[in-house]
């Protein structure tokens, strides 16, 4: 089994990290049902844009609320 210098993987769902040092374990770790990708930098940038304009911020909050209420139904 090929050895890796050590790759740190973080579970985005629970925030826990673990170090993987061989290919087999790495493949097991990344063989997830669903890989979730969040572009945090882009989201922060867009939030910054919205916060400069009260109307845009209010609309974004309303949209977020609608999504969360829709998800709860």
């Amino acid at each position: 089994m090929a050895a890796l210098p050590g790759v740190t993987l973080m579970n985005v769902n629970n925030g826990k990290s673990r170090v993987v040092t061989d290919v087999e374990h790495l493949l097991q770790e990344i063989n997830l049902q669903k890989l979730d990708y969040q572009d945090i930098v882009a989201e922060e940038k867009l939030a910054g844009l919205r916060s400069a304009w009260p109307l845009l911020e209010e609309l974004a909050r309303a949209a977020q609320l609608a999504v969360s209420e829709g998800g709860n139904q």
Binding site: K45, L46, L49, R50, A52, W53, L55, L56, L59
Partner: protein, 224 residues
């Protein structure tokens, strides 16, 4: 045949000027173009030197040849309704009238309702919404879903608000924004005052160059 339809997100977005200028730009690329004004006001013809008396077609439809291979058809509101929503025979007559000897059909529509009706008649219709980049448009885009691709018009690169809105729209997964953006340019106003498309009367303007880009993009769209 390439079918392209444009309508404004709201009134006064510059859709008619764009359709006239795009028709001219496509014609310059060697395309045989029919411009169809379904808005009922007859404004489209004015951009191509049709007489002012042609404004507001009251009954039926009017036809002008602006140049060989560049024609204008303007329909009255009632005729538009008959053509789009009438019986099968009326809709077939409409299709026969507009198709045949052209490479591109460009429609200037009054709104999304007409786009839906026309789309059911012409399944391969490409539909676009013309919108300025402002807060009112943002509210509309927020409240109304299922939009066609957006063509941004009168964009001011020095405006912080417009840049912020454009960035937000580009990142909004619900929206599609065309790669060609039309910037604010006084040449648009001057073109209508001259009763000519912007590419003819202000050939070296930014507006004319952007319409050439849009025309080439539309031709590539037909190829795909």
């Amino acid at each position: 045949m390439n079918y392209l339809a444009f309508y404004g997100l709201r009134g006064g977005t510059g859709t008619t000027s764009i359709v006239a200028a795009l028709g001219y730009a496509l014609h310059r690329q060697g395309q045989r173009v029919l411009l169809a004004d379904l808005g009922g006001e007859g404004m489209l013809g004015l951009h191509l030197n049709c007489p002012v008396a042609s404004l507001g077609v009251e009954e039926g439809w009017q036809y002008w040849e602006a140049a060989p291979g560049l024609d204008v058809l303007a329909f009255s509101s009632r005729q538009t309704d008959v053509c789009l929503n009438g019986d099968t025979e009326s809709r077939q007559d409409f299709l026969q009238l507009i198709t045949g000897k052209y490479d591109v059909l460009l429609f200037d529509l009054a709104g999304v309702g007409q786009a839906d009706s026309l789309g059911s008649l012409l399944p391969c219709l490409h539909r676009f919404v013309v919108t300025p980049v402002d807060a009112a448009a943002h509210v509309r885009l927020h409240t109304e879903h299922g939009r066609d691709p957006l063509l941004l018009n009168r964009f001011l690169p020095e405006s912080r608000l417009q840049n912020d809105l454009r960035t937000l729209w580009l990142h909004d997964p619900r929206l599609k924004v065309l790669p060609v953006v039309l910037h604010h340019d006084e040449a648009w106003n001057e073109a209508l005052a001259h009763k000519q498309p912007v590419g003819l009367i202000r050939a070296n303007s930014l507006a004319a160059r952007e319409m050439d880009s849009l025309a080439i993009w539309c031709m590539a769209l037909a190829e795909r």
